[in-house]
Symmetry: C2
Subunit: 306 residues, 2 copies
């Protein structure tokens, strides 16, 4: 049973972990969002790939929801003392990863190859692929102006309402090596309960990936990031309300038009129109049992007609 | 009494500290070597400027002779775990400074301005200026090939004999803002007991600085980095032996032909030909008293005819 999952940050990584616990981990390919990658003081940071890597190798600070556990902050404290911008929080161990990644990228190695090396060194079992090796960056149009993703999300704490999302570089971005093959060989394609606009959106902005999903011969199932019309974390509900006109299953499905065969929704959202068949379960992944329940609900969908 | 000192790394910083303790620190301008600057994993590191900054603000790890005291190494340990090159040792607090510097350089701020900000934040009293804001890099020709400075010095532990030194960018390098003015206003110009080839050489490779020294109207005094014909630290003695044919005062003076009026030498080297008047004292700066003795020997030279 080979599965490909499209994933963003925290929700994506928790769902990827749920799948990796439910099947043989090496059968799982995680295609990660790179639209929120950022250069911080010269270092290339891939927040979503890192959150996935940290989560699936038990390195994530679960309480904080990003970065490494048992982290120290000496570098950032010094940078702050010296007047540097420190709204993008980089722990010392986290920095070590960015140093290693940046070194290889500067030698001309593509992000997918760098990511494979980092993942191998950290003992990650599933295959982790960036959606693209090309430069793809998410920009948000808001009443306060247009912002790059991290500036809006972290520096401005996503307080601005979003009117539109665009992906710089989407016309040129090719799927990273391995992505199309994994999609071709998959028995099931899953979309994680990540923000449809800013976590999954940049992955689907890669034309080759969108096209592979449109032409799929296997079931594709998305997990709604909403519980009772609310996002577990982050601004997905506010974005759906403003840009799709609501926070029900139908609005989530609307983001994946023609790309999914079923939507997994939480019990709290049952009974609402969804536009595709729904699978109702409890979607909050707060422990191993909850992860297993959700993973199995998605795996059941593999039997559904494509 | 305004003094300008040309300085490299450890010897330069210790001598600059000696001068700063002997006069009003704000009367001192330190012109630092940037020929051994390096980009490490995307970060701009200025090892000599940093050693000076750390030494004069009591942040240097005195035992190690580089980097910060009370340093931690979480980032480097992680980078090593991930297969990154770690021969250039970056501590966590040290990294914080490189992050702050790189951020400003990437915004287009010149190194001199960045250095001023960092120095102010760390409470440095003397003026610290890079010799140049332009890219100037030291290369060593050795029997094993040509190497950039840090690769030869750190990665290869300066084991290769040096046949020639060249400075990439020297034809275009202009003196950094403030350097020529400081030289113009100085009552005394001092050359620190740093390696003449790789610490002072890159400063003098900036034509405007060399020319200002040639046309000086005040005394210029160098302190020999040798004690009994041996370098206190590093390869200066081996380089002088091979490229200048000896390790006496005359060989040191030969590196500063037309640029100095006197040479301060250690008692152990007294009586040997020097080519310029010598000032004999004890030059090892192992405590405050020793620093004071050396600084005063140099200050006495301010009375000497230019």
């Amino acid at each position: 049973m080979k599965i490909v999952v499209l994933a963003g940050g925290l929700g994506g990584s928790r769902f990827a972990r749920a799948l990796a616990e439910a099947i043989a981990p090496r059968e799982l390919t995680i295609v990660g969002n790179v639209g929120d990658d950022i250069e911080v003081h010269g270092l290339h940071v891939s927040p979503d790939l890192d959150t996935i890597l940290y989560t699936l190798t038990s390195r994530l600070d679960e309480e904080r929801g990003w970065g490494r556990r048992e982290e120290t902050w000496a570098a950032l404290e010094t940078a702050a003392e010296l007047g540097a911008e420190t709204w993008f929080r980089l722990g010392d161990r986290d920095l070590g990863l960015h140093l290693a990644r940046t070194e290889r990228l500067r030698r001309g190695e593509p992000l997918s190859s760098v990511t494979r090396s980092l993942a191998t060194a950290f003992g990650l079992e599933p295959q982790l692929l960036p959606a693209t090796d090309d430069r793809l960056r998410t920009w948000l149009t808001t009443p306060a102006g247009e912002f790059p993703f991290q500036e809006w999300f972290v520096a401005r704490r996503h307080r601005d309402e979003v009117d539109a999302v665009r992906f710089e570089g989407e016309d040129e971005a090719r799927a990273a090596p391995g992505v199309l093959q994994a999609l071709e060989e998959a028995d099931l394609i899953a979309i994680a309960p990540s923000n449809p606009y800013v976590s999954i959106g940049p992955i689907l902005a890669v034309a080759e990936i969108r096209s592979a999903l449109e032409q799929r011969r296997v079931p594709a199932v998305a997990v709604s990031p909403l519980i009772g019309g609310k996002a577990v974390r982050g601004p997905a509900d506010r974005m759906l309300a403003r840009m799709a006109g609501g926070t029900g299953p139908a609005q989530v499905t609307g983001c994946y038009k023609g790309l999914i065969d079923a939507l997994v929704i939480d019990e709290a959202d049952a009974g609402q129109p969804a536009g595709v068949p729904t699978i109702v379960t409890r979607t909050l992944m707060n422990d191993a049992e909850a992860r297993s329940r959700l993973a199995n609900a998605v795996l059941d969908a593999a039997g559904a007609p494509a």
